[in-house]
């Protein structure tokens, strides 16, 4: 030690460095924990849901004649008959009506198996009648059993028969609700934001509106359901369970999201733009309409899409206004009873049959795909068109 200053860290300093490392490790661990959850969550949903995208199908000969139109499960041979989903038998009279040439013919078809058979083949349950097992094994060895894409999951409505249940009526319901939310909350939200950002004097009343909007963004969603129930349904007489009632309720929830993001977008437009327009004679409104709004449009649209995505995933307020009804056929108007994607997921999650578990998870995957697409669109929109000043 010729220098006289020891460069080797003292014991106390070592302790402090250790504490430093420990603290950083905690922080990294916390972040990793949160990210790990995301991975666990998505892999769990995929593990539970992927199998519902395909369904067991069995190749059988279907006989159409006077008897089988009446006693529809006699249209296939007796041993195979209990393996086929009831949903098919129901359609036989309709098929013959639509195509009378079918009468007195025998057609070879791939038909959807019952949920029991499907669950057994996918390895979720072992409870299948031994006789049916034997038949299934025989058919399998003849190459008459395979998996087919479960198009019913997307294109048919809800059903009490799990192999026939699908999301179509929920898609339509969600679409109607989305339209209502867009039509109601977009104009009102943007107008409010323009007022607060461009016109409002800085006084107590304006501050009150601002605090009120911030509070509304944090009010529990279920309270909006109470509002929808008491005001829209009981007072204004909007039909219960309808897409209109749901849409109006969700509009009020989406409003603060749109207002807050629109204000941020308006704020990002520099003051020079407004002053420039006004300097050449534009009025305040003309400057906003012709210059500020077009420039802030990407930001406004991004906020709107994010708000809509939130509304599409919302369930709690809709439970209170009755949007958990059993809806086998898609609604054809705003005032008919409807269901939406998350409500359909909730309904399925409460069904006792095991097949609904994978259906629920599949529904969740579809909903998440939709939401991620919407949010990704919003982000791309912002990154592509947003101008930085």
């Amino acid at each position: 030690m010729s220098q006289g200053i020891t460069l080797a860290p003292s014991r106390q300093l070592k302790k402090r460095y250790r504490a430093e490392k420990r603290f950083k490790a905690y922080c990294i661990a916390a972040l990793l924990l949160a990210l790990a959850f995301l991975v666990v969550f998505f892999s769990d949903m995929i593990r539970q849901g992927y199998s519902a995208f395909v369904q067991t199908e069995i190749k059988v000969d279907v006989t159409y004649n006077e008897d089988t139109v009446k006693f529809t499960n006699e249209s296939v041979t007796e041993d195979v008959s209990p393996l086929i989903s009831r949903a098919f038998y129901r359609t036989i009279p309709r098929q013959v009506e639509a195509n009378p040439d079918l009468m007195n013919t025998t057609q070879t078809r791939w038909l959807t198996a019952t949920a029991h058979v499907d669950q057994y083949r996918k390895g979720y349950s072992d409870r299948l009648d031994p006789e049916l097992k034997a038949t299934l094994d025989r058919l399998e060895s003849e190459g008459r059993v395979s998996y087919g894409f479960n198009s019913g999951l997307f294109f048919s409505g809800d059903s009490k028969i799990p192999s026939n249940a699908g999301l179509w009526s929920a898609f339509v319901g969600s679409f109607y609700v989305m339209i209502v939310v867009l039509v109601v909350s977009f104009p009102i939200g943007v107008a409010t934001a323009i007022y607060l950002e461009e016109f409002a004097p800085d006084n107590r009343f304006t501050q009150g509106i601002e605090i009120n909007i911030n509070n509304l963004a944090a009010v529990p969603s279920i309270l909006f359901g109470l509002l929808g129930l008491a005001i829209f349904i009981n007072f204004f007489g909007v039909p219960r369970s309808s897409a209109l009632a749901g849409g109006l309720t969700l509009s009020l929830m989406t409003l603060p999201v749109i207002i807050i993001s629109t204000r941020a977008a308006l704020k990002a437009v520099p003051q020079n733009i407004r002053q420039g327009a006004q300097a050449v004679g534009a009025s305040r409104w003309q400057a906003i309409r012709d210059h500020v709004l077009p420039l802030s449009l990407p930001g406004i649209l991004t906020g709107t899409i994010i708000g809509i995505a939130q509304a599409i995933g919302e369930t709690a307020p809709l439970l209170l206004i009755g949007m958990i009804a059993y809806i086998p056929d898609a609604p054809t108007s705003m005032t008919e009873a409807a269901t939406v994607l998350p409500a359909q997921i909730y309904t399925w999650s409460g069904m006792p049959e095991g097949a609904y578990v994978s259906l629920t998870a599949a529904g969740i995957l579809v909903l998440l795909t939709l939401l991620i697409t919407l949010n990704a669109t919003a982000v791309i929109l912002r990154n592509r068109f947003e101008r930085r000043w």
Binding site: R16, Y17, A19, E20, R22, F23, K24, C27, A29, A30, L31, L33, A34, L35, F37, L38, P187, A191, I194, Y195, F199, A200, I209, I211, N212, N214, N215, L216, V219, P220, S221, I222, L223, L226, L227, L229, A230, I231, F236, L252, L255, P256, S283, W285, Q310, G313, T315, A316, L319, L320, P342, A343, I345, Y346, S349, T360, A361, L367, L368, N375
Partner: protein, 409 residues
Amino acid sequence: METSQVLLVFFGGLVPMAAVAFALGRRKALMSDASGSRMHSLPSQYGVYVATWMALPALAIGVVAAAAALFGLQVPSAPFVLSFALFGAAVGLMLAMRKVEPTLRARNAIEKFVYWTLFSASLVSILTTFGIIISILFEALKFFSQVSVWEFVTGTNWSPVATFRPGQETADSQFGSVPLFAGTFMITLVAMSVAIPVGLLSAIYMSEYASYRVRTLAKPVLEILAGIPTVVYGFFAAITVSPLVVEVADFFGLHASYTNALAPGMVMGIMIIPFISSLSDDVINSIPNSLREGAYALGSTKSETIKQIILPAAFPGIMAASLLGISRALGETMIVVMAAGLRPNLTWNPLEDMTTVTVRIVDALTGDQAFDSPETLAAFALGLVLFVVTLTLNLVSIIIIRKFRQSYE
């Protein structure tokens, strides 16, 4: 006529009429300009002026008629209302056309009209708050006229007897809300003991340690957690986490219910992580660098700076973030509806099944009870308490954040 038909005729008539009114007003202004007397505003502004004055009386008549019908007043038949609205439009058009003169400041009038339209749009958010208060308050007051506030606040037995017909005898119903609030409190506690440490430490990592690249990657990924619908979290809690909790408890020789409070609490905590982390991140970022540099200059390590300088300075903001998180946990519905129990249970053990305020609200309002039965009214009383508590938390946190922003701006 049906409502949709009436609306179709009304707007189908109004839109072309407005177009005609616009053309008339503009033409008069153009002619006046051509004849040498210079107009104050642009010709199209006179067009908008005339069209607005034509449409407003018609709209007003339509709205009044609709409101009258809603309140059950005697309303003349739809054709009469429609023709009366048409008459109003004609009068408005005539008066406005007469006013189109060089001295009329159409631009200023439009400006004023726009201002008041925007202003009235901003009232919708206030009306929403009032709507929530009114819709909850009236039903809650009805409830408290049947059940004493004291019993509601202090009673430990919640056992409403379902009534399916209005006016049915309900003497043996008990409405002591303590077990419901205990359950809500327990689940919130579990949620916050997951969300606050994880959220805060992630925020510290992202704002103080992480490189720019890690930060831009991790932040949006964390935000995904906030975008997952609550019904999805509920399914995950019920199907995956609850059985896991039961298994782990079994391993330690404990008994856990399949609708235990721990599973929904933990999943709710995960849901709240991004709220805490992004708000705390903002707050920590707004602490001026001079504070950090001062601490480094005195020889403190990074973690010492964070613990002794940054966190105390950011404390109000972190507090506000936590309050918002608590408010969200108290009002969260789907996770507890799907994964927590339905049985009011006053216990300290999170492995037992417990129910919450929001679960009982949903349960009371999705059943088949008569709408004015004490149980459905009780749902509104619970809603009132939930509203007051979350409102207080939100306001306190909004005010703290405002003060905090001001102190560093």
